[in-house]
Symmetry: C2
Subunit: 279 residues, 2 copies
């Protein structure tokens, strides 16, 4: 999907919502366990109920791989279902992959070609040759980890690095800012996004100054405690919006009864209505 | 597997060799393509031919995921085959995973429980809660990226960070060293290893001073150009060896004729003989 199409979808549907499909068999309604593919059945119903209120879906691969090759097949079916039934939805495979060049190319093939994802999340620690292969397929995106929503973001992402300012004096800059500025030079705003956690509050504003024109994928609204209004005010781009705001657990586990899909639709609609004020 | 068992295996077999199972269908002997599971058939023959000369195997998940759920099943079969047939082999799932705490726990379950890997490679950028779940299962290991073998290692892993020395003066230290020292405090030498590329030459010596007691997984010998003697002299630990040295392509693609397994065995034996001098 192109950036222009994504922006148009946000504008038309008045939502920046991305629904995270992190399916845990222990948390889904128990009557689904009798079906042949409980994970896919669950996802299909959630997708059918939430699609009017979101522009993107984000399945996290961990939740599929932990059920082995059968779980991997559920992931394939889910991604294929979304892109076949609702082709305007932007699908982010949340895989956080990163490996040396020839191996990264295999991952790009796996998730952006064989599986028809629009984007994949990428771990940047291994540098340029590990990230670029995800930026080289037409209308496909690398969503690179910048500043994440978890407590561990403190450990390395916020390490201070020395930097000379315009007056020749030493200032400090966070590793995540240095990293995002560098990664931004490897691609364009048409094939690169960054993950920035909703829980990072005012830092989102600083990051928006560092990378003014890139879309940000923002997890951490909802269960993890990030504030929607603050995120939009600090992170959006005039006219282009520039944000995909993810919510997983608070939508997909809104109910674990027979009404789970309906309840997910209601939660997604609530978030859509909150977001529509800004669009 | 415990550290004592691993050291004993190195001592008994006089080898630190880890064989990387990075199977590309375009590179395997074409007669295997008629079998039901070419990847598994290839791996099985390679494993049967090389097991006397190595103490570890390392399948890289990218090469399986790019064949979808069928490829994922080949990975499961391969890992099960090794641990059932040659239980003394240490199996490292080269997955380079890293995600927030509850998601990392799912990955640990996928690769160290459901799949009987001894170890998984872990990307550390997301910090403590993303790494620790891989250190918490008995006799299982997190193999954390330190300084990798690829050209992109230059981009972030070698960023200089300021540090006060014992005399109160500012010195610089590389990000990868700061990172490895911190990660080392989250686990023990019984559940944590680090990836350090063979191509990093003299830096391996500096890293051995930073983390004197941890096993290192060393990729990059062979096709990538790292020097075996230099690696062992700079990186080994007295009496404990402390190294697993990986070679993939130069062993598994030693021939692409009907003699591919035999040729792989010969290559592995050559490396074992070179290593035996130091054990």
């Amino acid at each position: 999907m192109t950036k222009a199409q994504l922006i148009q979808n946000i504008k038309t549907k008045k939502t920046m919502l991305c629904v995270g499909l992190d399916v845990d068999m222990d948390k889904i309604p128990q009557h689904l366990l009798q079906t042949e593919d409980p994970i896919f059945e669950f996802n299909k119903a959630i997708i059918d109920a939430t699609h009017p209120y979101c522009v993107a879906y984000k399945p996290n691969t961990a939740f599929y791989e932990c059920y082995g090759s059968k779980g991997f097949a559920s992931l394939e079916k889910t991604v294929n279902y979304i892109k076949t039934t609702y082709p305007n939805q932007f699908v982010i495979i949340d895989a956080k992959r990163g490996d040396i060049g020839n191996t990264a190319t295999m991952y790009a093939k796996a998730y952006l070609q064989n599986m028809p994802g629009d984007a994949i999340t990428v771990a940047p620690y291994m540098g340029e040759d590990s990230v670029k292969p995800f930026m080289q397929l037409p209308n496909k995106w690398a969503v690179v980890l910048g500043l994440t929503s978890n407590t561990g973001a403190q450990d390395f992402q916020k390490l201070p690095l020395p930097k000379f300012n315009a007056q020749g004096k030493i200032e400090v800059e966070l590793l995540c800012e240095v990293l995002m500025r560098k990664v931004a030079t490897w691609g364009t705003t048409e094939n690169t996004m960054f993950v920035v956690g909703a829980t990072q509050g005012v830092l989102i504003k600083a990051i928006r100054q560092t990378i003014p024109n890139h879309f940000l994928l923002i997890p951490g609204v909802g269960a993890q405690g990030g504030n929607l209004q603050e995120v939009i005010q600090n992170g959006s781009i005039p006219n282009e919006y520039g944000l995909l705001i993810n919510s997983s657990r608070s939508i997909i586990y809104a109910s674990n009864g027979a009404d789970y899909a309906q309840a997910a639709g209601i939660e997604a609609q609530k978030l859509q209505q909150e977001m529509s004020v800004y669009i």
